[in-house]
Amino acid sequence: MTVQEPVTAADPRLGGIIKLAVLAVGGQGGGVLTGWIEDLARANGYAAQATSVAGVAQRTGATVYYVEMCPVTDRAPVFSLMPAAGDVDVLIAAEMMEAGRAILRGFVTPDRTTLVASTHRALAVSEKMVPGDGIASSDEVRAAAEVAARRIVMADFEAIAGANGSVISASLFGGLAASGALPFPREAFEAAIRAGGKGIEGSLRAFGAAYEAALAAPLAVEAPAVQPAIGAGPTHLRGEWERLLARVRRMPEPVAEMAGAGLRKVVDFQDLRYGAEYLDRLEAIVARDDAGRGHLLSREVAKHLANAMAYDDVIRVADLKTRDSRFRRIAGEMGAQEGRLLHLTEFMHPRAEEIVGLFPAPLGARLEGSARAMRLLGRVFARGRRLRTDRLPSFLLLHALGGLKDWRRRTLRHGREVAHREAWLALALGQQDYDLAVEVIRCRRLIKGYSDTHARGLSKFDRVLEALPLLKGRPDAAEWLRRLREAALKDEAGKALDDALRTVRSFA
């Protein structure tokens, strides 16, 4: 990256003032980091001044800390109390979007700013509450940083801190040391940590690890390699599994990748026969798909059909909750090593609908038709239950429920899911417009969640697809269906979808 000459003729000694800003999220320990930087400067013959805007922003809001320093002389320098756009030498961002905010506010400029940023994300509420994927793009921030900053030191400083039993202030301090933006040696930084007096060992470890990581060449982001899905298990099942896998491998490449994941999901959900049914359905579609379009339709079917077939019922949840791999994973994550015990509490709240869903289809449908029966079932079964799965009674209950796979095909819920799935596939495959068919398949993404959320998802799915007749024959029908689906994922109540539907009706 080229270094530009400053454009103003400011006091040349102004270059002697180093201006450093820290943008953090409240609670990240920006104050500790600022304290270290200040101590570091003062201990090394610099006059330093720090300020902050704390206040209520400390409650998870965006916060700014600011330090200025210059070599000590016999006169006191006049330092500013806030960073100014275009006038920051070092910008430390304790989170990726805070780096973005720094760039947005003009605190990162190509002529002078060294940007030390942690690539991890602390998601804002607005990103998390979207029913779909509302996460802001870190790539856009990175791309902007590459233009805006004179130098970039980026790493997941949060992970580095965590791995070393410390907090992000220590690892960011390591990144700052490695950036070389301050005229002090590594030892001086470490001395500042020691002088701070709290959690010295952990801080030094995180500091060191971050220092090394920042110096190392940036790691190329590798796409996760798609591994062949090999199941461990009894020989006779493995043989059948290999035969199914061979069928996947015979599919065109873009489909095969998705079909491998899909096959694994449905076999894990039910059994090998179910897997074979999945492949039967898929192969029929591949056969009539358009190679010129890269088998896009088949690939999307491979994905969404697997999700549709592996629906979320009580049996699946009970099965997943009682697996030994889960118990091991949780024990590892929670730090329940040797000598410690792990209590596990599950929060289950089945509704009468879920209970009835487990009944054989004809009986279940009859019960569902009777308000009295549903009330009774609701009273007996449907209430919040805290199940201690590390204890036998609860474990046995869920273990037994999870073992009902052979029963599943007879249940009311299964019948419903099959009917819904077939209607959806028929609707999609009945479209003349290839792109529109693809979009209809993708609408399956709208159905997710449990109980109310599931019902709302279903209704959104129905409402989006109701627009199909209105879009028929339009050259941009697929694009509109995509927009409707995206709108449906924007908010819970479906306001954006209502607006989009109104637009569609206005031109239809």
Binding site: L104, E140, A143, G233, D312, F327, M334, T345, T453
Partner: protein, 715 residues
Amino acid sequence: MAERSFKEEIAKLRLGEGETFTGEGILAITKALLENGVGYVGGYQGAPISHLMDVLADAEELLGELGVRYEANANEAAAAAMLAASVHYPIRGAVTFKGSVGVNVASDALANLASSGVTGGALVIVGEDYGEGSSIMQERTHAFAMKSQFWLLDPRPNLPCIVKAVGDGFELSEATNTPVMLMVRIRSCHVTGTFATKDNRRPTLSVRDALSAPRSDFARVVLPPMSFAHEQDKIRTRWPAAERFIRERGLNEVFGPKEAPVGIVVQGGHYNGLIRALQRLGLADIFGETQVPIYVLNVTYPLVASEFLEFCEGKGEVLVVEEGQPEFIEQMLSTHLYRAGSPVRLRGKDVFPMAGEYTGQVMLDAVGRFLREAAPKLLPAVALAPNAPGPVIPDLSKTVPIRPPGFCTGCPERPIFAAMKLVEKELGKHQISADIGCHLFASLPPFEIGGATMGYGLGPAANAAFDGGGERRPVSIIGDGGFWHNGLSSSFTNMAFNKSDGVAIVVDNYYSAATGGQDIMSSRAENPTKATKHPIAKALNGVGITWVRQVDRTYDVRRMRDVIREALTTDAKGPKVIVASSECMLNRQRREKPLRTQAIREGRRVEAPRFGVDEAVCTGDHACIRLSGCPSLSLKKLDDPLRDDPVASIDPSCVGCGNCGEVADAAVLCPSFYRADVVHNPAPWEARWAGWRARVIGWLQARRRARRLNFEGVA
């Protein structure tokens, strides 16, 4: 116990003659009070001067040694009223609160104090909460000084100047019998630096001694005809005395060359920002040596006309750097110029924005424009030339999400609003008014509960128009801080007296939490110098409110929801009040974490709870987040080509408050959540029993595993 402890820093308050203090502005002010022989201190917390109250609270021992009385006042009005001790007695007193809201509350007492006049120095330290980081309406404290005629100091923002201003303030107050306000902005409260200390001084007359020799003088009472005499005294005696003192003591400063075509008048607090702009324009060096004359108003009220006119002499144009609106100083200075028949052109809000903070960029642009227009010859050539266009930086304004403050991880207020949201799903949207405090974050997404706030302690009062009732009851929310600040009288007696049909929820988190966790009347903490543990419910009963429901664990979302529903639907007459109590998690963790770590180390049995999400069970609809917003409940993108949407994920910062599980249950969301309690140092019998259970469970799991295909561990 406040959020931040200053116990270690308190040692700095004991520094003596010839030593050097290094630290934060707030602490420096405290030290300056002690050096100036203050006799009593008090105030009410609030950013940016919360830490001043915390420092004082932590320094009570030292204050006691010096014979200084410290009072944690009930509110700002009480704090300002305390300065009455300086009316008759020659005792220096100082109180602190935030501006402009605290000054609003205090204004009754301040106006009376200013009318009566003072004998001992009376200093009000106001933290002006304006601009970035502010949590209040954007107004200026300046107006209060003008209307009540007390003096306003706005020193340059470095430690020696701020410390000097404390001493100057007391002397100015005594020389003019007028209370003085020392204004410090957010950043100068937290600015670090050094100054040379002096010995602390005991007050010449302590408040204790004053009680032994009481004084009174009806001439000081604000009653006619004395009140008319007070007004005349302010203008005829105190004001000229103030002008004299300011000139003689050189409280305002002039920097730069004597002769120049232009000059700049600046509020002391903005001196550093102005110098930075001049530095960047090539007109000042890093020590503040300026080529443009600067008149620094360390006293922004009153403005000394003669001093200002002298500064203006020989100059063509003068710029006023005055942040905020209305532009009181510029108007006043214009009047001075006009009355003097001066030809000097006064500039200010024509180049500066009328509203909003004077950031580095605003200062650079405005000062640059003024100089280019008024004195282009002063500017170096490069500063006149247009900047070379830099590379175009991609616009991130659509990418970067806003990040307003919100409830902390494990906050006990979150389940109250989750419950409220569930009730609204059943009964429909309600008229909801809010108060001041952490609970106000509920008005933001994801809760969006509450549409207005009228001030501290005024939540229920803000619903008074709806007290008569209707189809749906009005709901108001107030914190325990607001309750004791003035909510009990302004809000609850108002409800009781007017037989309100409304519902009020008191969020009782054991502290004045939003301001930093200070103790209040209903705090559960043992406080050696304050009376705590007074239940809010008892106070409510005392004012005649009988329908009071106490919820002692807000995390019980189902109970919370049922109580709110009951309050909204009961046939009971009169106000319906719910006291929802659970300790502020920030303070609780600060208290309990070290104890827990210690207990584990000592081999005692400890259960550490944390929540988790089964990512295979989570479908990524984020309904849980829309009922929570907890920082530790976040999202994670799975490495699974079949899944488009990120799933919920709980990071290790989780404190195991239980809200996730309770909400998932009460709202019938999904079975993804689990709670994991790690038992440290279990009892031997407990470990044996658990081992036996684990063997049975392990055998069952292994048996099922052996009978099917297993894909775990395969990417």
